[in-house]
């Protein structure tokens, strides 16, 4: 049985993927915008985009029709903060493009050419229902890590949905280590680099005048100019309550900054201020250990309390394996639903939890109009699940990205099937495929 399934999957994978118009009907349909699931709903994908979704949607004559048989159908999951595509094996440095510790550049780095759509993490995460990801570089020796991208996880060579979609910087303990040893140095370095970039924008000749004393390289200045004017959202890793407030204050001097707060472990202590600043947050929601002095207030109720205070909360998988295990995204969101049942704890409703891994991260990165939900006009990223997508062990049975049906077979599946019976047969395992 398993073999027959695999062969057919392999045969499917061999077909060139093409956008196909398709109607998925009779679904427990999740739009992804925080609304409740629709029993008996349908979604119509036409020209690679969502044409219509909901109940009472008429299927155009002649369109391919897939009966979901009452199963869950959702937009593809958006990984809120990840490194998928940047690494194959973390400890094998040649495969690892997360950070550029010995580069003379920082904010100007652009991860787009480092992405490998053929890497096995792309396939493994796709098979877990992840269709898009916000990918950020890691900061290493410089304060600014560089420009991340929004990507798709389709089985093709074109991975980039939006290049230079964000700039990443770490404050707190990590930032102070890079800036010279204190938070004071972090804030000063940040400010000086932005001011230098602004001078450069007004008069590009200034950089030449500064010569070797320049705070910044040309490529870095160009990237930071886009941060100052709000073109590029600035994703800021920050955890301590006091640090969060100080980062929010940066908007006083740079009012156009589009701040997105990442981590925000002690965010619940300053939730009202974050809400007032209208800064979206990306949280790794199950981090509840005081594993540093900037995370003393860690609690799994952070996401629920932030949401209750009116903060726009996205749930991601980071401080964990952020390249290989994006499949944890649904598990983490599901935990927040379970937390709502624990006396004294704060969690999310199911609808809120799903939105926190679909439309919310899309909104945080400024792409709410094009990805992250099944509202008309969004990309045709659709997943049919074998069960409640937030429940443990649920898996996609069908994934479409930009309206193209995707292979769900991974290298792991091939290994599993080779060793379904571990004993060798007449020939070694190497002949078994």
């Amino acid at each position: 049985m398993i073999r027959a399934f695999l062969l057919s999957a392999a045969a499917l994978a061999a077909l060139p993927a093409a956008a196909q118009d398709v109607a998925i009907v009779n679904a427990k349909l999740v739009i992804g915008d925080g609304s409740a699931p629709i029993e008996g709903g349908s979604v119509i994908i036409r020209g690679g985009k969502v044409f219509a979704a909901g109940d009472g949607v008429a299927v155009p004559a002649g369109m391919e029709r897939i009966d979901a048989q009452g199963k869950w159908v959702t937009p593809g999951i958006v990984a809120a903060f990840s490194r998928v595509g940047l690494t194959e094996v973390d400890a094998v440095s040649g495969t690892n493009d997360r950070s550029a510790g010995r580069s003379r550049f920082s904010a100007g780095l652009d991860i787009a050419p480092a992405l490998n759509p053929m890497g096995s993490p792309v396939a493994v995460n796709r098979a877990a229902g992840i269709t898009r990801a916000i990918v950020a570089p890691e900061s290493s020796s410089n304060l600014f890590a560089g420009q991340g991208a929004v990507v798709d996880l389709a089985d093709d060579m074109d991975m980039v949905t939006k290049p230079r979609a964000l700039q990443f910087v770490a404050f707190g303990e990590a930032g102070s280590a890079k800036a010279g040893g204190s938070r004071a140095a972090t804030f000063l370095l940040f400010r000086e680099q932005l001011l230098a970039a602004r001078s450069f924008a007004r008069n590009p000749a200034t950089l030449a005048e500064w010569g070797n004393d320049a705070m910044i390289q040309r490529a870095d200045a160009e990237a930071l100019v886009r941060v100052i004017d709000g073109t590029t959202p600035l994703f800021v890793r920050v955890d301590r309550a006091a640090d969060i407030l100080n980062v929010i204050k940066l908007k006083g001097e740079f009012p156009a900054l589009k701040l997105v707060l990442v981590g925000v472990t002690e965010g619940w202590l300053v939730a009202r201020e974050i809400a007032a600043a209208k800064a979206p947050v990306l949280v790794s929601p199950l981090s509840d250990l005081p594993d540093s002095f900037e995370r003393l207030g860690a609690t799994q109720s952070n996401a629920g309390r932030l949401k209750a205070a009116g903060v726009d909360v996205s749930v991601g998988v980071f401080d964990d394996d952020d390249a290989h295990k994006m499949g944890y995204t649904t598990q983490y969101a599901g935990n927040l639903v379970g937390l709502a049942r624990v006396p004294g704890a704060s969690g999310l409703t199911w609808d809120q939890a799903f939105a926190s891994i679909s439309s919310a991260p899309a909104r945080a990165v400024g792409l709410e109009g094009s990805i992250g939900s099944l509202r008309p006009g969004r990309v045709g990223d659709v997943v049919i699940w074998d069960n409640d997508p937030l429940e443990l062990g649920s898996r996609p049975t069908g994934v479409w990205i930009d309206g193209k049906a995707q292979s769900l077979t991974t290298r792991q599946d091939r290994l599993r099937d080779r060793y379904a019976t571990p004993a060798e047969g007449a020939l070694p395992k190497a002949y078994d495929r």
Binding site: D90, V92, P121, L286, V337, G338, R395, R416
Partner: protein
């Protein structure tokens, strides 16, 4: 699992270390030697105290308690719907169906819609040795100054105020853990088995009478750590050579002990002699199938037994061999790709081991995942079922129940809900294989140590006292 380490290289190193630990536990009282054989010649048998840091754990006050109307996974593969349990004087008194006679003077808890299991056992933890906050001053899990440090005991590094212990209790229902040294070394030292109770001292947590373990590691970590220092081992063959030379020395030491000859005290050799005499259980960090097979041959060469391979991401490739050898594998559900020896991990690893009939264990090696080992088991179970395996929920609970108890030599005391066993029990507010479920109550030796409905039964470590979020839900 990376505990806030951001750099990929650092993360890899930390993972690598995280990947291995040793187990150890003290047993017995003063005896003349590592062997019970009488010394034929020696006039004065060698004596040393085998339990110089004895457990002071006694168990906390109990009440005669009944949970009824509950779904029970007994930890050995059994299930009782609408079941009841009686806990008395710290022990499981009896477990049965709705027809079982119940005492009339007990505290009675209605378990309708809830599930009851034995307390979760994690045989691979570094809590206390790598505690939170994970500052340099707390980095006590790897004595990475030499590849053989069989003389160190992980209990001497355990900080009992690690908030990770309390998180594991309240969110994960963890009642017993084995704390291992890290995996930088080929022989990292002794492990210790702890009851997951808050205590001023590690002695107050030590599981009374638990056997010690020896943490060993093969593969990338030892050769990377010592290769980088320009010393042996720098290769996998170096790993094996250093191990074998050490075992040869230990065999000679044990021979002297057995013959009652005078020996200088050698803490490393005492531990290894304990392994060779079967008192100390080998807990061996190893990822690759081919390397596990090498270690198995080495154990035959020197006459010891590996109790469990830890991580064992390629156990599925040699599940038949592991079954034949009677060696457990303690595994993650889905960790992969963080280093080369984790590249061939598959989500069906755990289920494939189980299908083969081998001793199957889910472990954490992680201060976060230890808080949801039930969820890790659920993912592994689902992967097996997708392959077409028929595995029931109650069978899968053996991965968190009797099997880990067996691997640390405590199957007679914990790991299942059988009369006379320690009343380490978790009441879950739903099916523990659902993402929506959390522990509601946790008993250790019959004492209620956590109650989700009673903030006063929520332990707060010294470290957290007076800090933001003191006494908060976590």
């Amino acid at each position: 699992m990376i505990r806030g380490v951001k750099g990929s290289l650092l993360a890899a190193v930390s993972l690598a270390f995280a990947g291995c630990a040793a187990t150890g536990a003290s047993s017995g009282t003063d005896t003349k030697s590592a062997s019970d054989e009488p010394a034929a010649v020696a006039a004065k048998p060698v004596k040393f105290n085998k339990d110089p840091y004895p457990s002071t754990y006694k168990g906390y006050p109990t009440r005669l308690t009944v949970v009824k109307g509950v779904t029970i996974f007994d930890g050995e593969g059994g299930r009782i719907d609408n079941g009841s349990i009686v806990m008395s004087s710290g022990k499981v008194d009896r477990v049965g169906g709705s027809d079982m006679e119940l005492p009339t003077d007990a505290d009675v808890i209605d378990g309708t819609g809830k599930y009851l299991t034995p307390g979760v056992i994690d045989i691979h933890s570094h809590l206390g040795d790598y505690p939170s906050p994970s500052v340099d001053a707390h980095s006590d899990g790897n004595e990475a100054t030499g590849p053989i440090t069989a003389e160190v005991w992980s209990e001497h590094s355990v900080w009992p105020q690690d908030p990770g212990f309390t998180r594991a209790l309240t969110n994960g229902g963890i009642t017993t853990l084995e704390i291992l040294p890290g995996s930088a070394n080929l022989m990292g030292g002794r492990s210790v088995v702890l009851k997951n109770v808050p205590s001023r001292t590690v002695q107050g947590m030590k599981f009374p009478g638990a056997p010690y373990g020896l943490k060993m590691a093969c593969g990338e970590n030892p050769k990377r750590v010592y290769g980088a220092k320009g010393r042996m081992p720098s290769t996998r063959m170096g790993n094996m050579a250093v191990d074998r030379q050490t075992w040869a020395k230990a065999a000679a030491y044990k021979k002297k002990l057995d013959e009652g000859k005078a020996v200088d005290r050698d803490l490393a050799m005492e531990t290894l002699a304990g392994v060779l005499s079967g008192e100390i259980l080998v807990q061996n960090h190893c990822y690759r199938a081919d390397e596990m097979a090498q270690v198995i041959d080495m154990s035959h060469e020197f006459g010891y037994k590996v109790s469990a391979f830890h991580h064992a991401v390629e156990a599925y490739k040699i599940a038949d061999l592991l079954k034949k050898e009677g060696i457990c594998a303690a595994m993650w559900a889905d960790w992969w790709g963080f280093k080369m020896e984790a590249y061939d991990a598959v989500p069906e690893n755990i289920a494939l081991m189980y299908k083969e009939g081998a001793c199957t264990i889910v472990h954490s090696d992680d201060a976060n995942q230890i808080q949801r080992l039930n969820q890790e088991a659920a993912k592994a179970l689902a992967a097996g079922r997708r392959m077409g395996m028929q595995i029931s929920d109650e069978q899968a609970w053996t991965w968190l129940g009797i099997n880990p108890a067996r691997a640390i030599g405590l199957a007679d005391k914990i790991g299942s809900l059988k009369p006379g066993k320690m009343a380490d029990v978790v009441l879950w507010n739903g099916n523990p294989f659902s993402v929506y479920t959390r522990p509601e109550k946790v008993w250790i030796d019959g004492a209620l140590m956590f109650d989700a409905k009673d903030p006063k039964r929520r332990p707060v470590t010294d470290f957290e006292l007076g800090q933001p979020g003191e006494g908060d839900v976590k």
